[in-house]
Symmetry: C2
Subunit: 297 residues, 2 copies
């Protein structure tokens, strides 16, 4: 385990440690937009594979078909930003099977990287399956920004599966890349704050109430969406016949801030964050309804 | 100006913003060993040009001769780690002339980057000349690790010369690269600590006393060296006929921790840090004398 400058710093250090020029990073879409930059920073190429609409279940066949000799790692994010989807143990086990076969074929183990800053935020008692027991060449990256409300303080970690034969070597590599990329160490004061803050997680039930409110608002306005199982985002489909960037502009006219799905490699959808007061969410109801009706003509 | 995760994070963000694959970073030697990694991280190549022994004055002719069409920037560090040298206004002006001519020849402005974390630590009232008035395509990188004793907290900055025609574009570039390299922001709590700590610099006179003590110890032991004008390092020549790595091992036998000059791209020398108590420095006198005598046979 290496304490890093947030999860973003951790993924960059990890990519610097494992990517050769031209190596491919496979990633289910929609994905967090900066993953593409992270791969490019270190001479890699992000290759996105669309998940199944509207549930955002992993498309295992498509992922298997997208693997090439240049595939160095697969990067998953669960609970997912922007969909709120949690990948099930079955999905992860199927993915692990595919990766084991492909690794045997190419002779180079493909890493499975799981970015999990929203692990603490799962609704209806949902379980977020751990990847270590599922696949030995796995790495967990996370941060304390969300669960301890330490955003801005830049403390996260890279945890390498101890079952990985090259675990010690990879940890040593990340310690070096973390240093030479200029992170050097996670902020010292932040690490002390973190030690004090552990065990005092934010109250996830507040988010559950907001989630229900936003589901109600979206349903009443007419949107099709999958109920998020974790994190604090909705990723609804845009009304038929409209363009996601244009529709997000329409929402802006209604004082509603959304991000077009294209930015996450998944056009035709848009992302909403519900880390705002429930009254704000309910207050946006009429705006959502007007924007939907207008787009439907 | 962009607040960065230390000077190391700042140089990485800057290199990511300005280097094209294969671009050269010219650097006077001896230089801080990690500069080479920083350049390589972003597809650049560090090209070192030895400064003049024993004063470590910039070798302007050699620097001029080393410039090629791929030279993207020159990175200087003053007061220098490991030599303690402060580049004079004359040296910097000559370097600027060379860079202006070369930029005109290649049609691409060569950046002059000055890494200055030791600016506050200059002895005998020495002035550390500012590079902004000397050369318009210049960038200052620094940190607060040393002057405010905030090491580990990772707060530094990249300051772009406002006279540079592309200043706004470069600042925007560094804001983006700082984000996508995973730094995102300098630690939030550290920035608040910094604001409180400004104006309470560490007492440089303590270092002046240690410098004098170490000079005395080295002189008595027989070493040739140039008196450091700033920072807290000596970079003495090793006794004739010995190898720097082997000599550093000899010093270790005497409980003296030094770094071989080869690590700084300048063999035949070694680096000593005097950020330790004066009594420790004086106590090492006999050890230095024994190691020197032994190496001289």
């Amino acid at each position: 385990l290496v304490i890093t400058c947030g999860a973003a710093g951790g993924i960059n250090a990890l990519f610097r440690a494992v990517l050769e020029p031209g190596d491919e990073v496979l990633c289910p879409a929609p994905y967090f937009v900066e993953y593409g930059f992270y791969a490019e920073n270190h001479r890699g190429v992000l290759k996105a594979v669309p998940s199944k609409p509207l549930t955002f279940e992993l498309d295992i066949k498509a992922l298997a078909a997208a693997i090439t000799e240049r595939t160095r790692c697969v990067l998953v994010n669960s609970p997912n930003n922007p969909t709120g989807r949690i990948y099930t143990l079955d999905e992860l086990a199927s993915l692990a099977d595919v990766l084991r076969q492909a690794s045997a074929r190419t002779g180079r183990p493909i890493l499975l990287i799981s970015d999990e800053p929203y692990r603490f935020l799962a609704y209806d008692g949902a379980d977020v399956p751990a990847i270590f027991p599922v696949y030995e060449h796995s790495v967990v990256v996370s941060s304390f920004s969300k669960n301890l409300a330490l955003a801005g303080e830049r403390v996260g970690y890279v945890a390498v599966n101890p079952a990985m034969p090259e675990a010690g070597k990879l940890v040593a590599g990340v310690i070096l890349t973390n240093r030479i990329l200029g992170f050097v160490n996670a902020p010292a004061v932040g690490q002390k704050l973190l030690a004090k803050a552990l065990g005092h997680e934010v109250d996830a039930s507040i988010y559950a109430g907001r989630r229900d409110a936003m589901a109600e608002v979206l349903r009443e306005a007419g949107f099709a969406f999958s109920m998020p199982q974790g994190a604090f985002y909705f990723f609804p489909r845009i009304p038929k016949g409209s363009d996601d960037a244009a529709f997000v502009n329409e929402l802006m006219q209604e004082q509603i801030l959304a991000v077009p799905g294209s930015g996450f490699g998944y056009p035709g959808y848009f992302r909403l964050a519900f880390c705002v007061d429930e009254s704000t969410i309910r207050g946006a109801g009429p705006g959502f309804a007007r924007a939907f009706a207008k787009a439907m003509g």
